[in-house]
């Protein structure tokens, strides 16, 4: 049971956690009916871990991420980041990468990356320097002056990751970032993300509906049930790092993926 130590508050050492979710409930009003989106969610993510949330569509995993990003208020429970509650969006503490790259089409790649810094009135030279560093980190050096429509889907998502990281937040939330990409680009991007994670040592919480992606990327997988979303399983991914494409063919990989699938299917 060693792996549970990474996600569950076993004793009073919760202060080290990058993300701490306790008894989270979320109910929203849909016309005149109340819909329970999330129920009784508690978990803990230690700093520097790569945690993936998987679940059937409509299980509220994106809602959970929006709450963690401070974009929505949960109807019950608490969310903490480095011990501090998240009352509103704060890109210094939590960076967010969305499903569609959602870059501003009227800004170049560099200007898109600088956007959060512009909002904070960071001086121009400082902004440019940090954006260039990020651009290089995500492997797009030389593409800074391109507009989003001149970039491929994978490149756009790289810019989006750079934008999420430009304020150097300890936590990066990713909401199905590669869902709109084709299979091959998706594999490459997964691999790239692991490299970026290795270089920056961020805590990453990654939502996906792809089981393969989940097992390939994660230290740990949280499996959610259909609505109202609850966490029905926590799986430690014991595969060695760095991950390689060959691992996908191994028996361990298959067994882990199978276990997640059975959990999702069995969940009511």
């Amino acid at each position: 049971m060693q792996h549970l130590a990474h996600v569950m508050p076993l004793d009073g050492h919760a202060a080290a956690a990058a993300i701490e979710v306790t008894d989270l409930d979320h109910v929203y009003a849909n016309h005149d009916a109340e819909v329970a989106a999330l129920a009784d969610i508690s978990f803990l993510v230690e700093a520097g871990r790569f945690v993936v949330i998987v679940g059937p569509s409509g299980c509220g995993k994106s809602t959970l991420l929006m709450i963690l990003a401070g974009l929505r208020h949960a109807t019950g429970g608490t969310v903490r980041c480095d011990g501090e509650p998240i009352a509103r969006p704060d890109p210094h503490r939590v960076g967010v990468v969305f499903q569609e790259a959602s870059l501003f089409p009227w800004l170049t790649a560099l200007d898109n990356i600088e956007f959060p810094l512009v909002l904070r009135h960071v001086p121009r030279e400082d902004r440019r320097r940090r954006a260039l560093t990020m651009l290089e980190l995500v492997g797009l050096a030389g593409f800074g002056e391109k507009y989003p429509h001149e970039l491929s889907g994978g490149m756009k998502q790289r810019v989006s990751i750079a934008r999420g990281l430009v304020q150097d937040p300890p936590v990066l939330l990713m909401d199905e970032p590669f869902a709109a990409l084709d299979e091959q680009t998706r594999m490459t991007m997964g691999h790239e993300l692991l490299r970026i994670w290795d270089e920056t040592r961020k805590t990453i919480l990654f939502v996906t509906h792809s089981l393969t992606e989940a097992v390939y990327l994660a230290d740990e997988v949280l499996v959610m049930s259909a609505r109202p979303g609850r966490i029905v399983d926590r799986i430690d991914i014991t595969l060695a790092r760095p991950r390689s494409y060959e691992m996908m063919a191994t028996e361990t990989f298959g067994r882990l993926r199978d276990r997640i699938w059975r959990q999702i299917r069995a969940a009511p």
């Binding site: 501003f104 089409p105 009227w106 909002l119 429509h149």
Partner: protein, 269 residues
């Protein structure tokens, strides 16, 4: 045989039209009453230049003021209507229907209210241009990708930052399209109202010379209105190119744009 470039072809068409304009009346194929020759049109323009210049200034003054009111008011009204869901649902259908009304029927009322001087032209033309600008601005704001606003909020952008950094740049292309249409309608409004009831302006000259069957003078005035719209169109295009590079190139990359232009078939402005 080398193919003509589109620009060269355009100039060639202009040259042919000008040549026909001169030759058809000269050769007696068309009566000078219906089509005065190019040279006689130019001659009267030069001879009566002070009169044309003076009236052009009047028209220009009316057009500029009417555009300021139409665009300013349209953008303001469009932003409010587009931004507030309640107003949008209440007013947008009304505005869309009003847009279809031929507002020129109101012009006699405007002359009763504002006289036959420049004021009634400005008010009429501004009203005429106001609707397309309002509708385009409302549409521009309404059709902004909500995801872009969520992204901005995730970066803790304040409301004013969301407006200036996201809503305004995102709606610029649609608003510009509305300004182009509204501006053109403003010119139409000024000229038409001058033709109906007035004592000055290029439209007034058209009516006055038409009554005395002086076709060359009518054509000279028509040419001036044409030039006015051409200059306006060039101005809007220039602004469009400066502010919305990403939009015009959004769907077609620059390279393929060149290919499309090289093809004779589709007209690409």
């Amino acid at each position: 045989m080398t193919r003509l470039s589109p620009a060269a072809a355009r100039w060639l068409i202009v040259a042919v039209v000008l040549a026909l304009w001169e030759l058809l009346p000269r050769l007696g194929l068309v009566a000078e009453l219906f089509l005065p020759s190019l040279s006689s049109t130019v001659a009267v323009t030069v001879a009566d230049w002070p009169e044309y210049a003076q009236n052009l200034l009047v028209t220009l003054y009316e057009v500029v003021l009417a555009m300021v009111f139409a665009c300013g008011g349209g953008i303001l009204a469009g932003s409010v209507i587009g931004g507030l869901a309640l107003l949008r649902n209440l007013l947008l259908p009304v505005f869309s229907s009003l847009y279809a009304v031929p507002i020129v029927i109101l012009y006699p009322i405007f002359t009763a209210w504002f006289g036959i001087g420049s004021e009634s032209k400005i008010v009429f033309a501004a009203t005429y241009g106001f609707f397309p600008v309002t509708l385009a601005t409302a549409a521009g704001i309404r059709t902004i990708d909500p995801q872009l606003l969520i992204v901005a909020r995730s970066m803790n952008a304040s409301l004013s930052q969301q407006i200036t950094r996201v809503i305004v740049p995102a709606s610029i292309p649609t608003v510009l399209a509305g300004l182009r249409l509204g501006g053109a309608l403003t010119i139409v409004g000024v000229v038409v109202s001058e033709m109906l009831t007035s004592a000055a302006g290029i439209g007034y000259l058209v009516t006055r010379y038409r009554t005395v069957l002086d076709s060359a003078h009518v054509f000279a005035a028509v040419i001036m209105i044409l030039l006015l719209t051409v200059v306006f169109d060039a101005l809007v295009r220039f602004i469009e190119r400066r502010t919305a590079v990403w939009q015009s190139a959004g769907r077609i990359s620059r390279a393929s744009l060149r290919e499309v232009v090289a093809q004779p078939a589709p007209a690409l402005g």
